[in-house]
Symmetry: C3
Subunit: 433 residues, 3 copies
């Protein structure tokens, strides 16, 4: 059996060249490849469907695109990089002056080797992206060009991958990633692969809570999914938007909208326990699909654990965000942090003491040393009797286990073991189960 | 057209000599003169009317008063200062010994040139107020005096001036000033004139909220007004008691009873933006009519912006609080602060996002740059797109615009412009409208 | 009439030798002796009664117990100390090897002169407790012993002493002490005697609130009492568990479960006013009967004022916790602190202003200086007018007098005097009365 880093490496290589967008065959192909790992259900939302304030667009098909210079040589060729064409460019084929072409040409003077990534989803337009080096070499001294984009719009659908992993409780966490960015490794092929690996891992575990995994195009995909799953989504309290997890830079996390929500404390405690230095990004209204999930109608506390967060690294949204920049080892590091954080989230149960009137008779339930009157044990560390008593004291059907653990200054895993013993003995009940 | 400082100066001179009290012709005359500026409605509450725990008193008429010494010369003469007579003194005319007179004579040893201001509204009594210098000169060496007070009590009414300035919302702010103090310039002719000027200014503006202006005698007037307008007054959340706004000393403000109410933050931000040094006076149960408005039955957050606050200056409640002490320029400074604070209050709207489910499609509403994928703009300052997104995120029908502005560290005027654009585009609705 | 220290001394001597346990004649004898001081009602809960998760045990009767060494001499004799027998030891009479005996023998190597205190209430067992010195002298060199315990279990009852002291309000504070520990002076004969003295003191006072005194065996007694008095106990908000009040060490208090509850602030202010250094013990789930009273079904804020708190002193739960260790003077010191704290609690009334609309007319109610217009009195200290105004402002039927006193930085006794004057004048009403 392959080790996980090699697996990640394989999927990086297979999926990197696929031309994804907000709709289209590239997205479906990506989801089909991920089905090798996990049983993703593919959902299609038809073009023209109204989803809240938005409309599902037509599918965009891109077959070829190039620009020729005066000597009839192709100086830009879509076959070399699918970033060369502005996403959702309309078809065009004509001779064109330098002046007119330049209004459709994107490059980055500050990063001369990089092809930038540009889109025009909702305004009919066309365009090319080139490196500044190529721009200087091929474009600055010529007056006339021939441009060709063989694209097409047609009624089709927007594709979403969904996987519901059932735990004992029907209460769900949301785990969302976006697959609309073509051929950029950190943003967000890294997130797509991590999410699939994470889902596979959780499928093999006995879980307390349920996990709703979604793979969808950013913004329009999240909106379409929310609109088509309102009831389920409005019940969700927290989750993750998995993105930008494979760069060489620092670990970090973007907080969910409510800074005091346990999900943020759980992420921080996970970093600290692993002695990982991390950057905290406050919630900001810019970002990824937490914009949709945090909106007034949903208010899901969605956080992102990152390694080289979007906006923050030089190669962001360019062709240099490639397989030289991203390493499978980095993705695996992020994966392990996600797994540990979810292990805690999964144990963050709200219990309620079934016998709230006075203490239960601990010895009757096999929970007490049997000769009384001794000294209190050294209380510099809490022993199991302490935890038992504190749990029976605190658990009122309101406070969550992580909150009790924080009050007691103790690891949630240790407290969970005691809580589950009390649950097995029918002293605590689990709320939301 | 006259400039505002000259206007203030004129009204100071016209109104200063009028003998005001808690009832009477002087109050009505004052209101009639203010009617040159604004269409005050005059309300009369008849003597004997029960208002909560109080009873509207009879009107007090004062025609003349003097004290003669042994040589039959008037050593105190009401014609020289209406402060010489204790307000609501009963009529008297008799020869009197030094010993008896002294129990009815008020002066200030520490401020020998000042005639103090004294009242006896609710206990039948009579008295004179003199400067300590006069006391020493005319009273200390004589044994017999003749006192004369030609006053009268009769059933009449307590007069209140009211002006309702309607804004788009029926929700009101209260703006109250008291006019019962005779011939003292800072306390409170300054407040009366500022209030009238402020009302005239607001009448010429398009306002979001409505403003309930009242000119009334302190305490009994505020109580009478509350008792006769319970329903309206119990709906009011905040406002101002305008008083002591024209002295040479420092600017300051007395906080409303709930220190965290936005009105207090708005006042402070106004001072800071104008780089005005100011004193903060915590809410205190002594003071002016905020005592009534803050009581349990109303709990209006009423603040006072002051310049030389009552209690705090040497000439307080004496004849030295006169037109040498108060300057129209000072009153105008206070007026401008009030206007700026009210401009903010008037914009402190609670909005609600009409499309709370996910983000709206900004480009469809003309709110988004049309080629996607670019870098995040330098976020050291918030641009209009940022403000749009934050407003749509925050506006939930609960949080007020000033509170959002504080969270974003931005001026409410700037945020209001964006909010109103979203309101015009039917993305936000205004609550309480 | 005897002074209180002598009285305490007498009762220490009378009650110290009585063999108390969780049930039995020693407990009834103790309560009967306390009936000389206060009219305790004796309640008997029969053996076998189900009380929440527990069952009232049989009574344990102990008549004699000894161990003989090889020379037939008694080397341990129950007549010398009732701590020699593990509480609730079953009867036994047999020859026994050293090895078997040692599994039933308790001693403390670190405190070689002390006989430890041990119990086995809920597991049938037997055992002896000896000093380590005796252990070495009599046990370590012998191989064969004869053990004899003349005890008996029989259906009987668990005895609780109850005294309800009625104040004007039916709202009760709980005052609980435990009497199950045999022949230890600080833990808890000191608490039992203090509680009786405190009750006698309160019986002679005019009280606002009612006080529910209970004398009961720890844990099972508190549980039995709660189970049999659920309705009354669930109405109680706060109280004391009186224990360990007579040692030579430092004063201190264990906080009730809700650290911000006024009872904790009241205790601290009492210590501070008496310039007594004190230790604050945070609420902890170990301890005494606050474990039961603080449980989810009751959530009573029960604090303990201590002098040499259990767990914290060397002689804890040994024969050295005796009348050489505890002094009646110490118990009296603790008693005075309890009395002062209860004086404050008893005044911690929630008032409601009967005239919440605007201020009342103070002069009409004889509450105002009768010539107006003077300067504000020096407000470095609050005068009675200030207190009157603040009380009328704050009292809304929610906030308690101690909370207002804290806001004003003033002693509750002073504020209470003013509040009661306003109550007498029908301006305030007392809630819960």
């Amino acid at each position: 059996m392959k080790d996980i880093v090699s697996e990640i490496d394989d999927y990086l290589r297979i999926l990197f060249p696929v031309h994804r967008s907000i709709t289209g065959e590239g997205n479906r192909e990506t989801l089909r490849i991920l089905q090798e790992l996990i049983p993703i259900r593919m959902i299609e939302y038809p073009s023209g469907q109204q989803v809240f304030d938005w409309t599902i667009p037509q599918e965009w098909i891109i077959r070829d695109a190039w620009i020729k210079g005066s000597n009839d040589k192709k100086i830009v060729n879509y076959r070399n990089s699918n970033l060369h064409v502005v996403s959702y460019s309309r078809p065009i084929h004509k001779k064109i002056s330098q002046k007119e072409l330049f209004t459709h040409l994107h490059f980055l003077e500050d990063l001369p080797e990089a092809i930038p990534y540009r889109t025009s989803y909702y305004k009919e337009n066309w365009g090319f992206c080139v490196s500044y080096n190529d721009f200087q070499r091929y474009f600055s001294n010529e007056d006339n060009f021939e441009v060709y984009i063989d694209s097409e719009f047609k009624n089709g659908s927007l594709s979403v991958g969904e996987l519901l992993i059932k735990g004992e409780s029907a209460k769900e966490y949301l785990i969302s990633t976006y697959l609309c960015h073509p051929s950029m490794a950190n943003d967000n092929l890294s997130g797509v692969i991590l999410t699939a690996m994470l889902a596979r891992e959780l499928m093999h575990r006995k879980l307390n809570y349920s996990y709703r995994f979604v793979f969808l195009p950013e913004t329009i995909g999240a909106i379409a999914y929310c609109a088509n799953n309102q009831e389920a989504m409005k019940k969700i309290d927290a989750g993750f938007v998995i993105t930008n997890v494979g760069g060489p830079g620092k670990h970090g996390y973007k907080q969910s909208w409510h800074a005091n929500h346990p999900i943020n404390q759980i992420i921080e405690s996970t970093f600290r326990e692993n002695e990982i230095d991390f950057i905290t990004y406050s919630f900001n209204i810019h970002g990824s699909d937490e914009r949709q999930y945090s909106s007034g109608g949903f208010r899901i506390n969605a956080a992102s654990i990152t390694k080289d967060k979007y906006y923050e690294y030089d190669y962001y949204h360019t062709s240099l965000d490639n397989l030289d920049f991203v390493k499978p080892e980095y993705i695996n590091e992020s994966l392990q942090i996600y797994i540990e954080a979810i292990e805690k989230l999964d144990k963050n149960i709200i219990y309620e003491n079934i016998f709230p009137n006075c203490e239960v008779m601990l010895s009757k339930h096999g929970l007490y040393p049997q000769t009384g009157g001794g000294l209190l044990p050294d209380d510099s560390t809490l022993n199991e009797l302490d935890l038992t008593l504190w749990l029976l004291f605190y658990c009122d059907g309101q406070i969550s286990l992580f909150e009790i653990a924080e009050k007691l200054g103790i690891d949630i895993h240790i407290l969970y073991t005691t809580a589950e013993k009390l649950f097995q003995k029918n002293l605590l009940k689990r709320c939301d189960f």
